[in-house]
């Protein structure tokens, strides 16, 4: 904070630049007391200096200070002169009194101005903070969104893979069902269970009067040829298991 302290020097003629900051804050307290008591210009000057000091110290940017003072001075000058003249002519006070009043007015105006300036600084600072905040938020949001998008695309890819795996599984199962459903396979399985194709069946016809006529001669199914011993069947089953796996 050395820069603003150095800068204070030229604007505070009654004080040494090295102590200006400390003194300024000290005199502000007295200045406020002095204002209510209507004390000397020296104090008010100190108060004036004090009033500037926090503003200047609070803003590190030089150009900012410069423009601020410029606008303030251009705004204040006409106020001061008209007040001086008006008061000196209408009330017939002494010039010192007039000056005092003028100073008071000016002080009042300045303190008001300082408040205005402070709010200006605050609003600008707020603006900067808001912009920085927006930038940060934007950056974070961008990062978050891009992370999200990458994560989503990864998830999408995973889901797609999962989907294709599932559809492969469906295909596999479908082909398995197709194979097991096929009459060829069913016949093989039935044969393995010892079932045989039936010979010619006989057919029964029930007449309306309840009498039953039999057509054809039923013959018992013949057992499968005993040439297929259990060992062979087991072998077949093993083959089937290994083949079907």
């Amino acid at each position: 904070m050395s820069a603003p302290a150095r800068w204070n020097g030229p604007y505070l003629p009654n004080q040494t630049s090295s102590t200006s900051t400390r003194k300024g804050t000290g005199t502000r307290r007295t200045g406020t007391g002095g204002r209510s008591a209507g004390t000397s210009a020296g104090r008010t000057g100190g108060g004036r200096g004090a009033a500037h000091t926090p503003a200047r110290t609070s803003t590190p940017a030089r150009t900012g200070t410069a423009t601020r003072t410029r606008t303030r001075s251009s705004g204040e000058r006409p106020v001061r002169t008209t007040a001086d003249r008006g008061r000196s002519t209408s009330t017939g006070r002494s010039s010192a009194a007039n000056r005092a009043y003028a100073r008071r007015d000016q002080r009042a105006a300045r303190t008001g101005g300082a408040a205005r300036q402070r709010t200006g600084v605050v609003s600008k600072a707020r603006f900067v903070v808001v912009v920085m905040g927006l930038l940060v938020v934007g950056l974070v949001a961008t990062l978050w969104l891009s992370t999200q998008s990458v994560a989503d695309s990864l998830r999408l890819q995973e889901t797609r893979e999962h989907n294709s795996e599932l559809s492969e599984q469906v295909e596999r199962l479908r082909s398995e069902v197709g194979r097991m459903e096929s009459p060829t396979e069913l016949a093989k399985l039935a044969e393995r269970l010892g079932l045989v194709p039936p010979p010619d069946p006989a057919r029964l016809q029930v007449a309306p009067d309840g009498s039953v006529t039999e057509y054809g001669t039923p013959t018992p199914a013949t057992a499968p040829q005993p040439s297929a011993p259990p060992a062979d069947q087991q072998q077949q089953q093993q083959q089937q298991q290994s083949g079907g796996g």
């Binding site: 020097g9 004036r48 200096g49 500037h52 003072t69 998008s149 009459p183 010619d200 054809g216 796996g245």
Partner: protein, 631 residues
């Protein structure tokens, strides 16, 4: 008012000349530096701009094409989506053929050899080529099991080629597993055509496999319906252009998709075939051919009303998954491709014409002599007899050649030929199977003197089994012949089912004639004392059976004459005759083993018996009355 102004730096600087100026100069000194800086940086910036500009022009103008080409090569990838081939289902929705996605594993041994050599050079801890291939081979064997023997994989991996296909038809899941472990192994998209019924109906469906020699690459049919309806089944491949990252075609840059053409899957084909019936018929015909010692045999079952083909079986068929190993005989669907001389089965033409034109009635008694001379030939009956009295029913029931020729002469050649045309002989049925033959009927102007002594008894002309069954379908369907069809519907990619248009029926004879002929032909399957027909074994107790046996002499190529030993044994029948549901046609090529070599009637009986069970055909209200064969 100096004190008041003292707070304002710039004003006070102008009004108060003293202490303020000193410190105010310092920044000015800096401003001076700044000017130098500006000059320097301006120069630098301009120099940079000029440099950038030169580079820009160089890149954008002189090297533009080369760069954009390289960029395109690097990132633009044409991705193809193979269209899923339509499946083939039977009339009940049972799967006959469908496609399954698979992978083909491949490797680039030469590249691998170089890579491994480079890797071991950098770091001796890496596998050598030999170690690597050994590990890959054993892992593939571990994942795929016996279908990928380790030694075979190793030999392929170590072969000195730039590309080698390791294994086809690999489950995508297992391929992924292998690739995860060894990214050097590639897995290309393939699809496998699965025939869950194996050899069953392969003569109809044919076979298809993954073809790289066809554009677009994919599953294409080579035989049967798979080939015949390939355009319909194949669908249209889709594609899109995407940008990919790092030269890896799988890493698609999101949002870079363009030129998207969606794949259109192929249509499904729904056949009129009933798989279970087909299985039984195929089994029966194979058994019978084996028993009778025939060269080959085929059988067909048609719907009596609609002409739909319920089963079309040949004794020889092949495994569509390995059709390369099938013999030409196995691949040949003889029921539609190979015409034959049908013999007495063709007498139905004369019978229908005789009744239709009022030449004879079923009970008309004919005095049938033992032989019938025509031009330079003499036609005899199958059994020796003198002149006997036979009803026309008897002529059919006993299959008398002489009696048939007598009636045919009365019908006349022109009316006979007209009837032959109406029965659909001499032209293709357009059933929807490839390689269909039209059969041969000699045109009227090429007849010799004895031609009309041959045609009525089923010699001197040829027909396919399907044409033969079609004639009986006309008789079963009250005189209207509906050309047979094997494709019932197509199910488009949108899932909408389009029924195949039902072919227009051809009126062959009047309904009365059809009924009369049907009733007459019940004589063939009857067995009563003195009234036994030519095919009593075809009878199915409880049902009226109408049919006709046939024995057609084959042409002996050595003498170009009719062979005395080789016959076509045929049978065509209607079940049940009083309310027809099915028409069955059977043909056996030159059977030799008695007793099966003389007739196919027992086979008809077996097929009819199964049909009656499977379709729960009600028993005939009354049994066939005894047909009077001899007065």
């Amino acid at each position: 008012m100096p004190r008041i102004d003292s707070g304002r730096p710039q004003r006070s600087a102008s009004r108060r000349p003293l202490s303020v100026r000193g410190p105010a100069r310092k920044p000015r000194a800096r401003f001076g530096n700044h000017r130098v800086r500006i000059v320097v940086s301006r120069f630098l910036l301009v120099a940079a701009l000029v440099a950038a500009g030169i580079k820009l022009i160089n890149v954008q103008v002189f090297q533009a094409e080369a760069y954009s080409q390289r960029a395109m090569q690097q990132k633009a990838t044409l991705q193809k989506f193979p269209a899923e081939r339509g499946s083939i289902v039977d009339r009940n929705g049972g799967q006959l053929a469908f496609s399954v996605e698979t992978r083909e594993l491949y490797a680039s041994p030469n590249t691998m050899r170089k890579e491994q050599a480079a890797a071991t050079k950098d770091n001796p801890k890496f596998d050598t080529f030999e170690q690597r291939t050994q590990r890959i081979a054993s892992y593939i064997h571990q994942v795929l099991g016996d279908q990928a023997p380790e030694q075979e994989m190793l030999d392929k991996l170590r072969s000195e080629v730039s590309y080698v296909s390791l294994k086809k038809n690999v489950d995508p899941n297992k391929a992924r597993q292998i690739r995860k472990e060894f990214p050097q192994i590639g897995a290309a998209y393939r699809a496998e055509r699965v025939y869950p019924n194996g050899e069953l109906a392969a003569n109809i469906i044919g076979a298809a496999n993954w073809r790289t020699d066809v554009d677009p690459e994919g599953i294409h049919g080579l035989l049967g319906l798979e080939h015949f309806k390939d355009d319909l089944l194949a669908g249209q491949n889709g594609e899109r252009r995407v940008d990919t990252a790092l030269g890896n075609d799988d890493w698609v840059i999101p949002g870079s998709e363009r030129d998207l053409v969606e794949a259109v899957p192929g249509s499904d084909l729904e056949l009129t075939i009933d798989t279970y019936l087909q299985f039984q018929v195929q089994r029966m015909i194979s058994d019978y051919v084996a028993k009778s010692g025939a060269r080959n045999g085929s059988a067909v079952v048609l719907d009596a009303r609609t002409g739909e083909v319920y089963a079309l079986a040949t004794d020889k068929t092949f495994n569509p998954a390995d059709f390369g190993g099938a013999s030409p005989e196995q691949r040949n669907n003889i029921a539609v491709t190979t015409p034959f001389e049908p013999g007495s089965v063709a007498k139905v033409i004369t019978a229908a014409a005789g009744i239709e034109y009022g030449v004879v009635r079923p009970d008309t008694v004919l005095q049938v002599p033992g032989q019938f001379p025509i031009a330079d030939r003499v036609v005899k009956d199958a059994w020796t007899h003198g002149t006997v009295d036979m009803t026309f029913t008897g002529v059919l029931g006993k299959s008398s050649n002489v009696g048939t020729l007598m009636v045919a002469q009365q019908v006349g050649a022109d009316r006979f030929m007209d009837m032959v045309g109406k029965f659909g002989l001499g032209k293709r049925t357009e059933v929807g199977l490839p390689g269909e033959s039209a059969g041969v009927v000699p045109p009227r102007d090429q007849w010799s003197g004895s031609t009309f002594g041959n045609l009525p008894i089923g010699q001197g002309m040829s027909m396919t089994l399907l044409q033969m069954a079609g004639m009986y379908q006309a008789i079963a369907n009250d005189g209207v012949r509906v050309p047979p069809r094997i494709v019932r519907a197509t199910i488009g990619p949108d899932g909408v089912r389009h029924e195949e248009p039902r072919p227009e029926g051809v009126r062959v004879v009047s309904p009365e004639t059809a009924t009369t002929v049907r009733d007459m032909m019940r004589a063939v399957a009857q067995r009563s004392p003195g009234q036994t027909g030519s095919g009593p074994d075809a009878a199915l107790p409880g049902y009226q059976i109408s049919g006709k046996t046939g024995t057609g002499q084959q042409v002996d190529p050595t003498c170009n004459c009719y062979s005395e030993t080789n016959n076509n044994i045929t049978f065509a029948g209607i079940l049940p005759a009083d309310n027809p549901r099915f028409v069955v046609g059977i043909m056996l090529d030159a059977p030799h083993n008695a007793p099966y070599s003389s007739t196919a009637a027992p086979l008809f009986h077996d097929i009819a018996s199964y049909l009656a069970q499977r379709y729960q055909i009600p028993l005939s209200k009354e049994q066939s009355p005894v047909q009077i064969l001899t007065p």
